[in-house]
């Protein structure tokens, strides 16, 4: 694991394995999710992979009625909106992700501050298949 180069490609391979990984600066200890090759805090370039707990809280979100072609292909539209949001991880970094397990047709019920847990969503089929980072409310993930 530690041998893999720091890159978005490898970050996504970790998502395939159900892991939300960040890059920690060996020099100053700052953590970045997704990873960065160069630490913007101290400009050090020695970074190492670190697995996060995949837990955090929702800090911003939107329920999208008109999505890009890829989301339309997944069956999302005005009558079936999807949620995208930003989650602040317990380790500190903020990540953007699809938000599952919320009532996208009644977005006023979705609350900033809700505790969230990572979910690894499968999108597309065959060669187009990929893992997309998602989060869902902790209560929801316990129930399912």
């Amino acid at each position: 694991m530690a041998d893999r180069p720091i890159s978005d490609y490898q970050f996504e391979r970790f998502l395939d394995e159900g892991k939300l990984m960040g890059a920690r600066c060996v020099g100053c200890g700052a953590l970045f999710v997704p990873p960065r090759a160069i630490c913007p805090k101290c400009h050090g370039s020695e970074m190492e992979w670190m697995e996060t707990r995949g837990e955090g809280r929702l800090v911003a979100f939107t329920s999208i009625s008109i999505g890009p072609p890829a989301m339309v292909a997944e069956g999302y539209d005005r009558n079936n909106p999807y949620c995208s949001g930003a989650v602040e991880l317990v380790e500190g970094p903020r990540v953007v992700a699809r938000i599952e397990g919320v009532d996208t047709r009644n977005p006023e019920t979705i609350k900033v501050g809700t505790p969230m847990k990572a979910a690894f969503l499968q999108q597309g089929v065959d060669e187009e298949r990929k893992t997309v980072l998602g989060f869902m409310p902790v209560d929801e993930s316990r129930a399912s």
Binding site: A60, T62, I64, S65, P69, V112
Partner: protein
């Protein structure tokens, strides 16, 4: 390293023109830029010999995607008959032509050129709405795109963070929409010239003619709350929170300050220019302000020796209603968390103490993204030179105006202060 930045040579704005902004099935970027160029040329009080133009800086975001054609610098230099004058195309998402303006300023300030044409163009409307949304999303952070964000979605998410922090709501964003639409009918160049009340009346009239159920909205906010009239695009962003799809072009003539009086007795002077980069939703310092706007503004204020209180009116980048709210705080016009109260109190209306987006803003004037930064500065030009007609800021001593332009998720922001001496 933190030296106070100033121009090595003063720069003046002596001409400005823009095309109509709308969705044109029968006109391309060359046609639109030619229209803007002719208007600019005619605006130069003492006349412009095109042979005097030394170089062109053209902002364009992604005609490559929208119109399947790139290389707009050389194409426009040719279509304007300016070959072999060098032309440079500049891309900074929706801030492209404000960057072109700034590069033109530097080219003159360096002493290398004396007369520079700056401007921008975008030809967006030929594809479907989904295609336009996909094209615009090219300016998002890659992680945002992978998470399914569209631009309305990015700004919708920012709105939820702002609402949570400061207790504002959709109702406050409606104040911004209503204000922009109140200014729009006063701007002959606006893509949408109707007030919200005008639109309510015409929808009621149509419903009566059709014999269907006649809506009974009590006021503008009641109309904007109606999910049929104002559907969600990316909650909490609804249709009337979003700027339209537009084609258009805008261009400006810049000259060395000491040459300005050869072109006009009434030039505007570049008092301050600022530009900065920012990060996306995952990495920005905070989701309730744009770090790049703050840095750009500070640079421009410092260069100009001015403070936010000195700016008598401003065009700000209201691609979405929530964006205008953040900008008027980031630019220092109002304290963080106070912007929505100022808007509700009418302070940003045409007759308020700090008029914002007298043009109708991107929301009503239109937003051909590569042309927008230059077009904002043209509104400042018209206001300061007393050419704004019925939408003139009611101030007998109007001398200082500014324009703020934003690209992406606040990835590129500019602030430009113009002065009439």
């Amino acid at each position: 390293m933190n030296k106070k930045r100033k121009l090595g040579r003063g720069v003046a704005m002596v001409g400005a023109g823009m095309s109509a902004f709308d969705m044109f099935k029968d006109r391309d970027s060359k046609d639109l830029f030619a229209e803007a160029f002719v208007e600019m040329s005619n605006s130069v009080d003492k006349g412009l010999d095109p042979n005097d133009i030394d170089a062109l800086y053209i902002g364009n975001f992604t005609n490559d995607f929208f119109a399947h054609q790139s290389h707009w610098g050389a194409i426009l230099s040719d279509s304007l008959g300016l070959v072999p004058k060098p032309a440079t195309r500049i891309e900074g998402a929706c801030a492209s032509s404000a960057l072109a303006f700034r590069e033109g300023v530097f080219a003159i300030a360096s002493g290398f050129y004396d007369v520079v044409l700056v401007g921008g163009v975008e030809d967006m409307s030929k594809g479907s709405t989904e295609t336009v949304a996909e094209g615009l999303a090219l300016a998002a952070i890659p992680y945002e795109r992978k998470a399914g964000f569209t631009f309305p979605g990015v700004f919708g998410a920012i709105a939820t963070a702002y609402f949570e922090r400061y207790g504002a709501s959709r109702e406050h964003l409606m104040d911004i929409t209503i204000k922009s639409h109140d200014n729009a009918p006063l701007n002959p160049k606006a893509q949408y010239k109707a007030t919200i009340r005008d639109m309510m009346r015409s929808k009621i009239k149509r419903a009566k003619e059709k014999g269907g159920a006649v809506p009974d909205w009590s006021d503008e906010k009641d109309f904007l709350r109606d999910p049929i009239a104002n559907p969600a695009i990316a909650w909490p962003m609804h249709l009337f929170d979003c700027c339209p799809i537009s084609d258009g072009a805008a261009c400006i003539l810049l000259v060395g300050e000491e040459l300005a009086k050869h072109f006009t007795e009434d030039p505007l002077y570049v008092a301050g220019v600022g530009q900065a980069s920012g990060r996306g939703l995952n990495a920005a310092d905070d989701l309730t302000y744009f770090e790049a706007t703050q840095h750009a503004a500070n640079e421009a204020y410092e260069m100009a020796g001015l403070t936010p209180a000195d700016i008598q009116f401003a065009e700000v980048h209201d691609c979405f209603s929530i964006a205008e709210l953040l900008h008027i705080e980031d630019l220092g016009f109002f304290k963080p968390g106070e912007g929505y109260k100022a808007v509700a109190d009418g302070l940003t209306r045409l007759d308020g103490e700090k008029p914002i987006n007298t043009s109708g803003g991107l929301k009503c004037k239109g937003h051909p993204v590569g042309a927008t930064g230059a077009a904002q500065l043209i509104e400042v030009w018209e206001q300061l030179r007393d050419k704004a007609g019925d939408r003139s800021v009611p101030n007998e001593d109007l001398r200082i105006g500014a324009a703020h332009n934003l690209g992406g998720t606040g990835g590129t922001c500019t602030f430009t202060i113009l002065e009439r001496r």
